[in-house]
């Protein structure tokens, strides 16, 4: 899976840009499978991407259009998918989102993630064999009604609280 280090992330969006370009030949956030959340007043930048969570909420697809691939990535069947948006609603962190009826989620680029390749800050790494799957339990119920963008913002804040504490203790003590 892809691992994020927000201390190193400058928020440049190169991951987003290259993801979109390599999958579709064009550049736009709506077609990117990784989306960087920028919380400008507190200096936080955080790329939100599928965590390959233990619960696999999105795979509860009513049409069985979602399968888990050998690297743990999400595989969506374009023939079975009816664009119902259940996966988008179920994902607690906004890592899967529909655009023009198509769900966009990280597919690991067949084992060579372009976002990782193009991040020259080292803020995102690819670890093919991550030890323990991350659990997102507890997040889902509270966030069910939020938009994908709002879910990403909440997730980014939760995931970077420690970083703010580090900055404050380094610069303000």
């Amino acid at each position: 899976m892809i691992v994020v280090d927000p201390q190193k992330c400058s928020g440049c969006l190169r991951c987003e840009v290259n993801c979109s370009f390599f999958h579709t030949g064009s550049v736009g956030r709506s077609r990117a499978r990784v989306k960087v959340v920028k919380i400008e007043p507190i200096g936080i930048d955080y790329p939100v991407i599928c965590r390959q969570c233990a619960e696999r909420y999105c795979a509860r697809c009513p049409e069985s259009a979602i399968q888990i691939g050998p690297e743990g990535q999400i595989i969506i069947s374009p023939t079975l998918c009816v664009s119902c948006g259940t996966c988008q609603t179920l994902c607690p962190i906004g890592a899967i989102e529909l655009y023009d009826g198509i769900p966009y989620v990280c597919d690991l680029c067949g084992g060579h993630p372009r976002c990782v390749e193009q991040c020259n800050m080292g803020a995102i790494r690819y670890e093919p064999r991550a030890a323990e799957p991350v659990s997102l339990k507890g997040l889902r119920a509270a966030r069910r009604k939020l938009s994908p963008e709002e879910k990403r913002v909440r997730f980014a804040i939760d995931s970077t609280n420690y970083l703010r504490d580090q900055w404050v203790s380094a610069r303000r003590s």
Partner: protein
Amino acid sequence: MLHGYGGHVLRVDLTSGRIVREKSDPRYLIKAIGGRGLNSWRLYDELKKDVDPLSPDNILLIGVGPLTGSLLSASAYTTISAKSPMTAILGDSAAGGFFGPQLKQAGYDQVVITGKAEKPSYLFIADDHAEIRSASHLWGLDIVEATTTIRRKLGDNAVQIAAIGPAGENLVKFATVACNNSRMFGRSGMGCVFGSKNLKAVAVRGSTPVSMADPLRFLELCREMDRRIFEHKELSNRHAMGSTLLMKALNDMGLLPTNHFQKGICDYIDRISGQTLAKKYKVKNKSCFNCNIHCSRYYMTGEVESEGPEYETLCSYTSRIGNDDLVFALKMNAHLNRMGIDSLSSGETIGWAMECVQQGLLTKDDFDGLDFTWGNAETIETLVRLITYREGIGNAFAEGTLSLARRFGRGTEKYAFHVKGLDMICGDPRGMKGFGLTYAIASRGGDHLRAEPFFELTGRYDEAERRWGIREIADQLSNEGKAILVEHTERQALLTDCMTMCKNIGLSMDVLDFELASKLLTAGTGLDFNVEQVNKSLRGIIDADRKMNIDFGIDASTDTLPYRFVHEPLEEGPCKCQVVPIEKLVKEYYQLRGWDGQGRPADYVESSQKKNLRKGDKSGGRNP
């Protein structure tokens, strides 16, 4: 289908509330390229030249280029243009961040704003939907508060916003517009034009991806650009300090403005340098859209946290005004960003006042008791507050240094360091002659970015010989060939502004040449941007700017530098005894541009002669 470009122009009349979405005309785009070029031609074609910059008839333009928001590194920029309230000539300012790419994804090349809203308003654009919304609840808020409030209300943190602060609302002549809270459209008072139209902000969200005509070729060219960037010898320093690396670099050259350009060497440089800032206060790197240098920085001090500062702000609020307290400068950076005030122009008003007091021309009594001794932090802070709200003496300062000096008279005009009403940047031109020429001829006034001839600071003698056959061009103290250099880099600067790319990378790092740009533009848009066409377009825009400025009232006598830089040699350091022979350089430059002795393009002279023949013909309408 038009690739690269957004494909539409949005026309918004704030008086009537009428909004029209027009298709962009490819013939116009070839001529204007995009960004600043597109804005310049629009002003040239549609603005009544004698308009009061603060009247509803002034045209406010937001332009992006054909490659903005694309795979091209640092294709992040946006240009805002209008007739400048500060200088009453062409005004424009570019900023990076994420606003431009979002405007492109909403399908636009340009937003054309005219009229004046009856009440405080903001413009909301979401793809092909656009509406004018009330901003009564936002009026009075600072830029960070206003941006956050709009995002909360829309429930969308990814919406991009260009907003003004209280300074813009109060029509401070050098008010800024900011996107992403701290990417500033700083120069020439575009925030003041926003304020004059009762326009608090423009918010935009787009969902259409930017397509390229030949994506594989474009990818190949972008990787070539990345290679040039990654192999560049300045990469690691720029990554660590951004433009603040210039503090120490210019001080080493003896050109760091100290006590309002009285000296070029600052005794306390180690306390205010980019190195010190990075070591003691930086917490992480920040970046504009799709950049691989990440030159911006987020910092924290005991009191504030913010992004930046860039060199011009840092120098303007430290050595230029005799302040050795870095923490205070960082606090002011955060504050100026929130209030929406240009650090350069406000810094120059302070420097001017401090020098006038030191020279004995003015005293405390002239400034309502404010004590303008060098580096007086209390005075600086108070003054910035007075400027923001135009209170007391701040009302006069809010007009800019030139107007301020004219008001006081008594010989103080000599110390107003401006060209054409725009305050000079923080680089002493006496030891870099190409820069000196740039300030003098820049079409928006005393500024380096029109041609930033950074080449002369890089010591590349062999490269100078190869390109122009004149080795001395690489010598910053030489006057030889500097007009040739500036003619060249002026086109290169305009090219980056049109595309729109970051000038620190395209120009200062010298990685964007006309060949590569022509290939990128062609592969991106599918239009035939061959090298000749690109250069023809660039020359056309430079001439259009000039013709417009002549109509606004400039002439050859304004293509000059303040007295000090022409007549008072530097007293110490590597550039000792140097001044700028500005008349000679400007004359050479006119010749290279094909302008006459008065700095007028040939077709301008012809057409004004014709106009004189046709007396009473007031149409004046120019068609593209």
